[in-house]
């Protein structure tokens, strides 16, 4: 069975559905996880896991055992890793958890048969972007902000962010049925779907692709221009020479 179709079948959030309680518990867990007290943090993890389990219960079963187990595994991995990425104190750990959650998402794509999307997620995000992040973070402050920096804003930012995320997820889930399904599975699961994707990109959206490519190139040239700024080594020689004279 198609996972998306089952997700789409989920109707609006009501108070008696486990989905609502799951999302609420997850949000509360995230907020608790960010609290300064260690006991509250542990409570946050437990609440978050119960929330994930409740959402999992709310999703309709997939029929087959193997896809069901894989789906639960990948989905839990993705959600848990995202939560961990948001709440990690250490920036390096946050980046690694983000990469793990991307792997989970890629697994979900593969489960749906979207091979190219799944693999491209790993290549582009986990393989290139997060690696670059990690690279910079390791050279910067590995321990994150010092405690007084964290506390000064936490009282305001954490509840607002949590409420915002909960609202966003709630709206998304309750409005999901309106999206409907766009393409038929046959198109996506076709054997040469990579070639078809390329054809679509370079025929219908040629201008957008070219414009995006040009913008990226300009950004690259700009970055190099900022780094070079003339030839500093030669400049210092000439300056020193001038002062000598």
């Amino acid at each position: 069975m198609n996972v998306t179709a089952l997700l789409l079948a989920q109707t609006a959030l009501t108070l008696d559905s486990p989905m609502t309680w799951g999302i609420g518990l997850g949000a509360a867990g995230l907020a608790l996880r960010l609290a300064p007290q260690a006991a509250w943090q542990k409570l946050g993890i437990i609440a978050g896991l119960i929330g994930i389990a409740l959402i999992g219960v709310a999703l309709p079963p997939l029929g087959d055992v193997l896809p069901q187990v894989l789906f639960w595994l990948m989905a839990t991995l993705a959600v848990f890793a995202s939560g961990a990425a948001v709440t990690s104190r250490s920036a390096v750990y946050a980046a690694i958890w983000f990469a793990v959650s991307l792997l989970g998402v890629a697994g979900l794509f593969l489960l749906q048969g979207a091979q190219f999307l799944g693999v491209a997620t790993v290549v582009v995000y986990a393989g290139a972007i997060v690696v670059t992040f990690l690279f910079v973070l390791m050279l910067a402050q590995p321990e994150g902000h010092s405690p007084y920096d964290r506390i000064s804003w936490a009282g305001f930012a954490i509840p607002i962010a949590t409420i915002g995320v909960a609202l966003l997820i709630g709206t998304l889930v309750s409005s999901l049925p309106e999206f409907g399904s766009v393409g038929t599975p046959n198109e996506i699961l076709h054997k040469t779907h990579v070639a078809r994707l390329g054809g679509e990109l370079y025929a219908k959206h040629l201008v957008s692709v070219e414009v995006v490519g040009t913008i990226l190139l300009v950004a690259l040239v700009g970055a190099i221009a900022i780094v070079i700024q003339g030839n500093p080594r030669r400049r210092t020689t000439s300056e020193e020479g001038a002062s000598d004279r």
Binding site: I96, F116, A120, V123, A128, T132, M138, V194, E240
Partner: protein, 421 residues
């Protein structure tokens, strides 16, 4: 179906681990041969341990890998106090998992005909029909970078971290020429599936090393760099960085790193053979029909393995033939030589393929173009290759040159001299 896949996984992992162990022995014997030494030739079957009267068998040192493995496992596995323990453990595991998972989409033969215990022909690849095979290899090789980065960073050691910095810069830089080399092949075959890429070469009889020489050179050099083999082994150059990113590792964790490195080299050899040397195809020995008989199927595996073995021998020979690059030379080679060459190759292949389709009528082009046309295209590709090579070497002659630059002041080259002045 599941049992079939499990058996394939067992064959692949067992074969790879054994191969990696014996390639270590081969590498040491090769090194000894190149350096005019004897090499490890003692460890064989220790029969005198069983019975005092029996003599030990030497067996040309074939017991060496087993002895090495046991030594690695039994040695003290020391975790220093100053490391980030979780990431320290995660790093070798992630790099080995990524290295092994790569082989899920790399075929180790052609097709086994129906018979014995199965009703349908069995494709000799763990995951047959992966439409994005090449991309999976790419994705997993980019995951392998994590092992190197995490290992070096978690070690909390400056030599490890220097190795990590070098390694990640090198791996990211050489992924581009690697991709450009592959792009030409994908353009010519129209598929990301390694099986189909091999089948295409078998059908025309023209290996891509002959029709896309520039792409082949670019890919070959980039594959050396991605496998971090000499002359690209800056991540762990012993003379400068002790052991590079795995300086702090010992025991079984170090073994995981070393095995993963060998697996990278083996994977690179598989890809070189399959993309550019026709995989299991050899003229007059293996045909191109998709349903071969038993003899054909076994011959194909033999041809494939022979080719891969030769490429690995070449890897090992190069190790003792070339000095290591300096880091700036490495980067200059990637960005100023390999990247432009790869782009030229990509454009040349695109033009040649389009000309092929345009000159021959479209119907014929699909069923296979004429031998004369193929020859002309190959010659054109070689001309492009030589011209591009000459132009690049004239444009950037200092890339691999260690001599002092005459056009620059010595103070320009080394700012420290200036401080002394």
């Amino acid at each position: 179906m599941i049992i079939e896949t499990l058996i394939k996984i067992a064959i692949v992992i067992g074969g790879l681990m054994t191969a990696a162990a014996y390639f270590v022995l081969l590498e040491r014997r090769m090194a000894a041969w190149v350096q005019d030494r004897v090499g490890p030739n003692r460890v064989g079957a220790p029969l005198s341990q069983l019975n005092k009267g029996w003599k030990d068998l030497r067996l040309f040192g074939l017991g060496q890998p087993a002895a090495d493995g046991v030594k690695f496992i039994l040695k003290e596995e020391y975790t220093p106090a100053h490391v980030d323990k979780r990431l320290f453990v995660l790093a070798p595991i992630s790099i080995l998992v990524a290295a092994l998972a790569t082989f899920a989409v790399i075929p180790f033969g052609s097709v086994l005909p129906a018979g014995l215990f199965w009703d349908e022909p069995i494709e000799m690849v763990v995951h047959p029909g992966a439409g994005v095979g090449m991309l999976v290899v790419f994705a997993l090789s980019s995951i392998a970078v994590y092992g190197v980065i995490l290992g070096g960073w978690a070690s909390n050691n400056k030599y490890s971290f220097l190795g990590t910095l070098r390694s990640s810069a090198q791996l990211i830089a050489y992924e581009l020429p690697l991709g450009l080399g592959i792009l030409g092949v994908i353009l010519a075959t129209g598929s990301l599936d390694l099986n189909e890429i091999i089948a295409e070469q078998a059908k025309s009889g023209w290996w891509f090393a002959f029709t896309q020489p520039l792409g082949f050179f670019v890919f070959f050099v980039a594959a050396f760099a991605e496998a971090a083999r000499l002359p690209f082994d800056l991540p762990e150059c012993e003379q400068e960085l002790i052991g590079g990113y795995h300086t702090e590792y010992s025991g079984i964790k170090l073994l995981l790193f070393l095995v993963a490195e060998f697996l990278h080299m083996i994977a690179a050899s598989f890809l070189i053979v399959m993309l550019f040397f026709g995989g299991w195809h050899f003229w007059f020995i293996t045909g191109h029909d998709s349903n071969p008989g038993w003899i054909q199927a076994i011959l194909r595996v033999a041809v494939l393995m022979t080719k891969i073995f030769l490429v690995i021998l070449f890897f090992m020979l190069v190790r003792w033939s070339w000095p290591r690059f300096r880091f700036d030379q490495l980067m200059a080679l990637a960005w100023k030589v390999m990247l432009p060459l790869g782009l030229i190759n990509f454009v040349a292949v695109a033009v040649i393929e389009q000309v092929k389709v345009a000159v021959i009528d479209p119907v014929k082009a699909i069923s296979g173009s004429s031998p004369g046309m193929e020859l002309i295209c190959a010659i054109a590709a070689w001309v492009v290759c030589i011209v591009a090579w000459v132009v690049i070497s004239i444009a950037g002659p200092l890339v691999a040159d260690n001599r002092p630059r005459l056009d620059m002041d010595a103070f320009d080259v080394d700012p420290q001299l200036e401080e002394a002045r």
